[in-house]
C-alpha cells in the first residue's frame, strides 16, 4: 500500500487543491481501506479500489464541509523550488496557482474524472469503473472539464 501513496497523494491533492488537505484525505482513505480489507477481492486492481475509496471519502468530506461553508482550496505560499530564482520563481508560482485554480473551478465530478484520466493515466474504462459511472458519462465529464479549463488557459 505504501507504493500507492505517491499516486494517491497526487490525486488527493488535485481533488482538494492543497497538499495538506490531500494528505489528510489519503490518511482517511488508507484507514478506511484497512478497515474494509475484506471487501477488496484479491486479483482485482488494488489501485482502482483505493482511488474509489479516496473519491468517495472526498465527496463525503465535501458534503459535511458544505454545511459550514468551508472551501477546500489553499495553494501554499511556500511552494517548493520556486524561491531561489526571482523571475522564474514568480512565473512558476503563478502557473502553480493558475493550474490549481483552474482545477478547483471545476465541479468535483469533472475534476475527479479529468484527474484520473489526464494525470493518473487510467483508461476510460478503468476510470469509469473507479467512479462507478458509465463510460459515456465519463467521456462527457472529461470533455466538459476541458472546455472549462480552456477558459483559464493563457492564450496559445
Amino acid at each position: 500500500m505504501v507504493q500507492l501513496l505517491p499516486r494517491l497523494r497526487r490525486f488527493a491533492t488535485g481533488l482538494t487543491g492543497s497538499a495538506a488537505d490531500g494528505d489528510d484525505l489519503v490518511q482517511d482513505t488508507v484507514e478506511r481501506a484497512l478497515k474494509n480489507l475484506h471487501q477488496w477481492e484479491p486479483g482485482t486492481r488494488l489501485d482502482s479500489w483505493m482511488f474509489r475509496i479516496a473519491k468517495n471519502r472526498f465527496l463525503d468530506i465535501r458534503r459535511s464541509h458544505k454545511r459550514s461553508g468551508v472551501v477546500a482550496m489553499d495553494v501554499p505560499e511556500d511552494a517548493p523550488a520556486i524561491l531561489s530564482d526571482g523571475a522564474r520563481g514568480a512565473e512558476a508560482h503563478m502557473m502553480l496557482r493558475g493550474a490549481a485554480q483552474a482545477l478547483d473551478a471545476l465541479p468535483p465530478e469533472q475534476r475527479e474524472a479529468l484527474l484520473l484520466v489526464a494525470v493518473e493515466g487510467f483508461s476510460y474504462r478503468d476510470a469509469a469503473d473507479i467512479l462507478e459511472i458509465p463510460i459515456g458519462t465519463l467521456t462527457s465529464r472529461i470533455a466538459r472539464a476541458r472546455d472549462a479549463l480552456a477558459l483559464w488557459a493563457p492564450e496559445g
Partner: protein, 233 residues
C-alpha cells in the same frame, strides 16, 4: 462537408481512446483545421501544467504518519502487493537454514498444552490448532487460532501461518501432520490507533522466516480453499 467532431470526440482523441481508424481521421482533420488543433494543443499544455503543479505540491516525501498507517496492512496483503515490504535486513539477520531446521520455539508454554505436541521427534500441531490448520480459511473469523497466509515452501510443502493466544508461527504439512516450523510470542499490539489490523502484529522474526522459505506468493482465497478441499495433498 463533414460536421465537426464533438468535444467528446476531440477529448477522447487526446486520451487515445478512439478506435484506430477514428484516431487517424481526427489526426488528419487537425492538420487542416487550426482552430480545432489549437484546442487540442491547449489541452495538452494544460495537462502538462496540472501534472507539474501537482508534482510540485506533492514533491515532499509522504508524511511519516501516512507511511506508518499504510504499513499496518496485514501480512497477506504485503506479499500480494510486492516484495518491497520485506526488509532485506531481516532476511539476512535470520540464519534461515539452521533456524528453520531446528524450529524456533519461544514462549511455547503459553500455547494451550493440547495444541502442540511431539510426534516421532517432530513438534506438531494438535487439537484446535491442527483443526484450524486443516480446515480454517484466512477469511474466517471466530474463536480459536486464526490463519494468516497459506503458501508452498521450496520443497513443495503446504505451509500456513497462524496466531493463537499471543503466539504466532507457521507450520508446514509433512508426513507427521502440521509440523511447526516456527513459533514466537506475538508482540503486544502497539497503541497505534483503532485501525491496526490483526495480521500486522505478526512478529518480524516469523515474517522474515516465511520470506526465506516461501516459494512464489501466498495463495489467494481461491487457491487456499482449493488446497484445503483437497486435504492438503
Amino acid at each position: 462537408m463533414e460536421t465537426d467532431p464533438t468535444r467528446e470526440t476531440l477529448s477522447a482523441f487526446i486520451d487515445g481512446e478512439l478506435p484506430p481508424r477514428e484516431m487517424e481521421r481526427i489526426a488528419a482533420l487537425l492538420a487542416t483545421r487550426p482552430d480545432l488543433d489549437a484546442w487540442v494543443r491547449q489541452q495538452e499544455t494544460l495537462r502538462t501544467d496540472i501534472g507539474k503543479s501537482l508534482a510540485e505540491l506533492t514533491a515532499a516525501p509522504a508524511p511519516e504518519r501516512l507511511v506508518r498507517i499504510a504499513q499496518t496492512a496485514p501480512i497477506s496483503w504485503r506479499w500480494r502487493l510486492g516484495q518491497a515490504w520485506q526488509r532485506p535486513m531481516l532476511r539476512t539477520w535470520i540464519p534461515a537454514g539452521a533456524t528453520l531446521a531446528l524450529g524456533v520455539l519461544i514462549g511455547i508454554a503459553v500455547v494451550p498444552p493440547g495444541d502442540i505436541g511431539s510426534r516421532g521427534g517432530q513438534v506438531v500441531a494438535q487439537g484446535a490448532l491442527a483443526s484450524a490448520l486443516n480446515g480454517k480459511l484466512a477469511s474466517e473469523a471466530g474463536s480459536g487460532p486464526r490463519i494468516g497466509i497459506t503458501f508452498r515452501d521450496h520443497d513443495g510443502h503446504y505451509c500456513r501461518s497462524f496466531d493463537a493466544d499471543g503466539q504466532a508461527g507457521f507450520a508446514c504439512r509433512g508426513s507427521k501432520g502440521w509440523e511447526i516450523a516456527m513459533l514466537a510470542t506475538q508482540p503486544k499490539a502497539e497503541a497505534s490507533g483503532p485501525y491496526r489490523m490483526a495480521g500486522s502484529e505478526m512478529p518480524d522474526v516469523i515474517r522474515a522466516a516465511i520470506a526465506a522459505r516461501i516459494q512464489g506468493e501466498p495463495f489467494d482465497m481461491k487457491a487456499e480453499k482449493s488446497a484445503r478441499d483437497q486435504g492438503w495433498r
